[in-house]
């Protein structure tokens, strides 16, 4: 393979991201190109982006997790519940909500590995189950919570804290991305995830604990969805059980645009990050151009198909 092609292979996705951004700078109003808008895009990427970290592991292992959107709502309801009903302080509320949400993934993992039901079905069931549970706990309405610092995690920075450059939620996102990109690449767990997705039989032959790894993967996915739920709560300032319907599809789209294969064995955390950014930029650009929602949806759909088709073409060539 010649050098430019290799280079394109590695950085093609980043170039696509830049190209889309530059395109909107030209066609969208001047407000799009401001630094302030970049910061907004970063904040808007956080929820999908954090959930996409967990989903990347799931998809690389050859599975799928449809329960992500429901877990986001579930955990956001729990944060509000702990804050308002049990009067926990903010940090314990968030931690407890994340713990409860992660437990859902643990259960999914056990069902998938012990009962040998396919992930699609288990997580589809969990999607409905969690959504229902969230609505039940919230009594079919939004839970209002007292205003705390949790609500500032994803807000734009007030002038006196401009030294932080980005809001804390974005920093948390960046931090998690780096940590888990490292884990995927440089740990036994990460390598086992790729091996299972690439060929589960080979992984078993080589003595990899396939079942245990899968349980961890689904727990991790729910853990990230729950953190995304805390962010969701932070943005809304209420616990809303009807929020994030269909969010899992955005998350899956981000991971797939990022180069992961639904048949497993391929994908990177940074790819998924770029995928999530591409989706936000399109949405933000379209909104600022005053395009209606239906146009955004058509554009996003076209981008997903184009990205994956290009990826296929690239693989056929090499």
């Amino acid at each position: 393979m010649n050098v430019p092609l290799k280079w394109l292979n590695r950085f093609g996705l980043l170039l696509a991201l830049l190209a889309i951004y530059l395109l909107f700078i030209f066609i969208a109003p001047s407000s799009f190109s401001t630094m302030r808008n970049l910061e907004t895009i970063a904040r808007q990427t956080v929820i999908v982006g954090i959930a996409a970290i967990g989903m990347t592991f799931v998809i690389i292992s050859g599975g799928i997790d449809l329960s992500v959107g429901s877990i986001v709502a579930f955990s956001s309801v729990f944060v509000a519940y702990f804050l308002s009903k049990t009067h926990f302080s903010p940090l314990p509320s968030a931690v407890c909500a994340v713990a409860v949400g992660s437990a859902i993934g643990l259960i999914s993992g056990f069902l998938i590995t012990r009962l040998k039901v396919v992930p699609f079905i288990v997580t589809l069931g969990m999607m409905l189950l969690c959504r229902g549970a969230a609505k039940g706990i919230a009594g079919e309405q939004k839970i209002n919570a007292p205003y705390t610092w949790l609500n500032e995690v994803l807000a734009s920075l007030p002038p006196e804290r401009s030294w932080m450059i980005l809001s804390p939620g974005v920093w948390i996102f960046i931090f998690l991305t780096l940590i888990f990109a490292f884990i995927l690449r440089y740990t036994v767990f990460g390598r086992a995830t790729v091996a299972i997705g690439s060929n589960e039989q080979t992984a078993r032959l080589c003595g990899i604990a396939v079942e245990r790894t899968k349980v961890i993967i689904y727990t991790l996915s729910a853990l990230f969805a729950s953190i995304a739920g805390v962010m969701q709560f932070s943005r809304l300032t209420v616990g809303d059980p009807t929020v994030a319907v269909g969010l899992e599809l955005d998350v899956i789209a981000a991971v797939v645009i990022g180069g992961a294969s639904l048949s497993g064995g391929q994908g990177t955390i940074f790819g998924s990050l770029i995928g999530a950014l591409i989706m936000t930029i399109i949405r933000s650009g379209c909104t600022q151009m005053g395009l209606e929602n239906w146009i955004q949806e058509i554009v996003t759909g076209a981008i997903i198909i184009t990205a994956v088709a290009l990826d296929r073409l690239r693989h056929r060539k090499s």
């Binding site: 690449r185 440089y186 740990t187 036994v188 767990f189 990460g190 390598r191 086992a192 790729v194 091996a195 690439s198 060929n199 039989q201 080979t202 992984a203 078993r204 032959l205 080589c206 003595g207 990899i208 604990a209 064995g265 391929q266």
Partner: protein, 504 residues
């Protein structure tokens, strides 16, 4: 089909067929003539080229050179469907019926009588009843779901399907391997009936006593060439076996000084879910023990049970100092490693790199606290790439970009990298070229040699000369049962083949 001309053209003539896959010549100048209303047996060892020849007949593969004629007319179908339409029907070992459809739906699958897409159900029922009438099996009802039928009945349905499609040449590939004795008799009756209808039957089998019973003519293939053609069906089994194995052992098999050391693997009365049945064997360090037998005899299952990939029903197993069954993870830890016969589906993760594949069984040793440093993986892998002469760009190349022989070396390198004491090798040279085979024989010899590593090696192979060449001792497995261990100097290929076929 009553043709009383003196010169009846043969039903099928294959002229000078040659087919190579890369450097491997699968068929070399093979000619075959099958008369109408003849049962023509095609025998040969695994890998002799029988299935390649049949794939060419059914147009799954195209020959490199050579031509074919069907009833005197040139025959060169473009694809398997064209071949089927010209009257060629293949019945494989693995049946290809749709289990959720009924018998009649299966019988007319793809050729459903219809009017502008709407099925003519009465016509279908009538066709099915007609086809089934020949079989004299009242239990096969047209409206029954195929998943409710026995294996034998499924096979009959498949043959009936060939008849409905108007087949003139019927190829049966190991039809009896999954049948009970009574069903075999019924199948033979059916074959005789088909023969009387003028259909030519090509019958592929390892079981020579069956061949003697049913075949009019026998052709023996060996190493992709015709060893003997048009023998009468009554030829003695001994003579056929001689044709099957009768080649000189070439000097491919290095053999250095070996000494049996301590006992490292012992199984006793060892049974899996179906196979093996009450197997016992002893393996010592510095010993290469071969397991011969036919495909389906249960040899792979034996290795997989030992390695913990399949459940053990009963029996004793001791590996080194460790007693009892264990998971693959524990087996690696105990110093045993398995080379899978199925390189693409199980042996290797094809979309991963050479380094990842070679080091997959010992990821934990490449860093502390669950970390894995790729540089160390690459460094270790680089050693094996040099030692085994794996042709590749770097340890980071994807395995699916390598040739079959190099892939097999990668799979082998995993055992070497793990430095296991007991190597369980399942068909270690399947589907690779001669150069790679020689390389693997050399490694096996070095591993067993007492001066070097003094490892214990258990190798399953369907290729007898290979076992004769590399092993110190050989056991034969037949229908799930493992025979006694023979010293290689006290046995010959002929006896082994007899034992494998079950006539010893």
């Amino acid at each position: 089909m009553a043709d009383n001309e003196i010169k009846t053209p043969p039903a099928l003539r294959m002229n000078n067929i040659t087919k190579a896959f890369g450097p491997t010549v699968a068929l070399n100048d093979v000619s075959l003539k099958v008369k109408p209303a003849e049962v023509h047996a095609l025998v040969g060892e695994n890998g002799a080229g029988k299935s390649t020849l049949m794939k060419i007949l059914s147009s799954v593969l195209t020959p490199d050179t050579g031509s074919m004629e069907l009833f005197g007319n040139p025959y060169s179908p473009k694809n398997p469907i064209a071949a089927r339409n010209l009257g060629i029907a293949m019945i494989y070992q693995e049946l290809s019926l749709a289990p959720d459809l009924t018998v009649e739906e299966n019988l007319t699958l793809g050729i459903e009588p219809n009017f502008t897409g709407i099925l003519k159900t009465k016509k279908i029922r009538q066709l099915a009843l007609e086809a089934l009438k020949v079989f004299n099996h009242p239990e096969i009802q047209p409206q029954l779901k195929v998943s409710k039928l026995s294996v034998a009945a499924c096979q009959l349905v498949e043959i009936a399907r060939a008849l409905v499609a108007g087949c003139k040449i019927l190829v049966l590939d190991e039809p009896t391997s999954s049948l009970a004795a009574g069903d075999v008799e019924k199948l033979f009756d059916l074959i005789k009936k088909l023969k009387n209808q003028g259909i030519a039957v090509i019958y592929i089998s390892h079981f020579l006593e069956e061949v003697r019973k049913i075949a009019d003519t026998v052709t023996v293939l060996r190493d992709g060439q015709i060893a003997a053609s048009n023998l009468p069906g009554v030829t003695s089994e001994d003579k056929i076996i001689n044709y099957m194995v009768g080649r000189k052992i070439e000097q491919l098999y290095p053999r250095s000084n070996r000494n049996k050391g301590k006992l490292v693997l012992e199984i006793e009365n060892f049974s899996g879910t179906k196979k093996p049945i009450a197997a016992s064997l002893k393996l010592h360090s510095g010993q290469v023990l071969g397991i011969a037998g036919l495909v389906g005899a249960g040899r792979s299952e034996l290795l997989r049970c030992i390695f913990g990939l399949e459940k053990i029903r009963k029996g004793k197993i001791k590996i080194g100092l460790y007693l009892g069954p264990a998971s693959p993870l524990r087996r690696w830890y105990q110093g045993a490693g398995l080379l899978s016969e199925n390189r693409k589906e199980e042996g290797l993760a094809l979309s991963m790199t050479i380094a990842e594949n070679v080091t997959m069984s010992k990821l934990r040793s490449f860093g502390r606290f669950g970390l894995v440093w790729p540089s160390r993986q690459n460094q270790n892998t680089g050693r094996w790439i040099d030692k085994l002469a794996i042709k590749c760009a770097s340890p980071l190349q994807r395995v699916d970009e390598l040739s079959g022989g190099n892939q097999q070396k990668v799979a082998f390198a995993r055992l070497l990298e793990h430095n296991v004491d007991i190597l369980l090798l399942d068909e270690p040279t399947r589907g690779i070229d001669v150069a790679a085979k020689v390389a693997i024989y050399k490694i096996i010899d070095e591993l067993a040699c007492d001066k070097n590593s003094h490892k214990a090696i258990l190798v399953v192979s369907s290729y007898l000369p290979e076992l004769m060449g590399i092993c110190d001792d050989v056991s034969v497995m037949c229908k799930g049962r493992l025979g006694q261990t023979h010293n290689i100097n006290e046995i010959n290929e002929h006896n082994l083949m007899q034992e494998a076929i079950g006539t010893a």
